[in-house]
Amino acid sequence: MTNELITASAADLAARLAAREISSAELTQACLDRTAAVDGVVHSYLHVDAEGALAAARAIDERRAAGESLPTLAGVPIAVKDVMTTKGLPTTCGSKILEGWIPPYDSTVVTRLKAAGMPILGKTNLDEFAMGSSTEHSAYGPSRNPWDLDRIPGGSGGGSSSVIASFQAPLATGTDTGGSIRQPAAVTGTVGTKPTYGGVSRYGLVALASSLDQAGPCARTVLDTALLHEVMAGHDPMDSTSIDAPVPAVVEAARRADVSGMKIGIIRELTGDGFQAGVQQRFDESVQHLVDAGAEVVEVSCPSFTYALAAYYLILPSEASSNLAKFDAMRYGLRVAPHGIDDPSAEQVMAATRDAGFGDEVKRRIILGTYALSSGYYDAYYGSAQKVRRLIADDFTRAFEAADVLVSPTAPTTAFAFGDKIDDPMAMYLNDIATIPANLAGVPGMSLPSGLAPEDGLPVGFQILAPAMQDQRLYAVGAALEARLLSAWGAPLLHSAPDLTAAGKGA
């Protein structure tokens, strides 16, 4: 790593930018140089906007030079998950059906990033329409895990997790429908938060499952995550489900890092059996760190979590089948003529385009959702799933009466190898077992690194869950744990990741 700018934290970079020790243009160029060096092997990006990012960086530098008072993260560049619309920049959602689509409008998140003065480096890869846990379902090829290029970087936000884990960007945005921020963070040794549902505007996020989707921050430290959280969050009148309340004091909580007197609840159903030994071991150690920091540990039971995966894989496909109906070759995106039909009708063109434009996983979920909503099956499937959802929310309510936050490993295993689960959808779905309940109930969750699993040397994620609109508790606990782990490790975990430039040369 030739340039220490790329390994520095966003908080540190922001301070140095504010003090005019570095310029945004210089920092942005360093990120772009890193991308040129390593993205050939990592493949975090679907689109890099070097020119736009540098122009934005220079504009910020000029404003700062003119003495303007700027937002905290002004000048710190960021990568945006390619499921958020960016005016003038391609937005594909990792799908062929949107190849080359350039939205005429910015998502609210992107509007806020721009207002915060953050240069946008590019758009990061994802499983097609965020359906997946590995980025293997991206139509443009998978992203790779910087810890081991033969392993998945998580999904759907594997582009965002790998872009920060490979030091191409200090920050990235993510979206989390069933764990797509937290699971990629876990398997890449980075930090990611799914805020309370409604905490961040969904306007301009290409919807997967509207009642589950939530955008959030991805970063390398808890404080950086909080700083980005603060930029992204807040009420948006363009999103009916946006919470009209002040953003929780996440930055302050991250800075205080205080867990003394807090009750930490271990979810009985999300530990033990089914979790890789090293994952469980690092989890237990982290819990002990929190106890050492002054927290009290209790065990809670959430019996309905047993049904969470089943409910999730009914609700998500149902909503997705409807949300993805708009991709029909009429107004934007791909248009494919069916084979062997002269003068095809709109209906035939729609069906041919949707077959050619969607990947297998997307088709599978659309058809599953179509089934779950169809007359005669609605009550048994979608209806029952919505009732299970209520049970899960009730479990959370009870658990949060006993504990201030709940904790679990983020994912049952460390990063698996490409191809391991691609042919077995159920095995792939099981990977989301610990992250899904938070989406069903709308509560916030964070994943941060808790070390490397001894058996494979790969990062393990520690998940923290808090009651709705108490996102700051994630940061208090996360920062306290991070501080203790950091002093135990002696250096950030990512510093022990392999040198990618060597791999780049080999590739």
Partner: protein, 98 residues
């Protein structure tokens, strides 16, 4: 629990406007069967007398005032169109459906 037949999947694909090839259909029938068997377990949960939950947050009455906001320009609106003509989206002939 009902078995999904090949004809069922073909019917669903038709509803979802996806023209699956024969191979795709064959593969889908098997995969969906396994997934359905798994997700059908929601019916085993203690859900009698439980109210369905469609929204994670209990918000109501979120509205906006009836005030005009700027629209896109027609050029921007049509910018992604696969085909356009006379400032309209040009689409293949539409079957008479109603």
């Amino acid at each position: 629990m009902s078995e999904l037949t090949r004809a069922d999947v073909a019917h669903l694909a038709g509803l979802a406007r996806i023209e699956l090839s024969d191979d795709e259909l064959d593969k889908m029938v098997g995969e969906l069967g396994i997934i359905l068997e798994s997700v059908a377990t929601v019916q085993n949960a203690p859900i009698d007398d439980v109210a369905p939950m469609s929204h994670p947050m209990p918000l109501v009455n979120v509205t906006r005032p009836d005030e005009v906001r700027p629209s896109l320009s027609p050029e921007a609106a049509l910018s992604g169109a696969p085909e356009q003509d006379q400032q309209r989206f040009s689409v293949p002939r539409i079957l008479d459906e109603d």
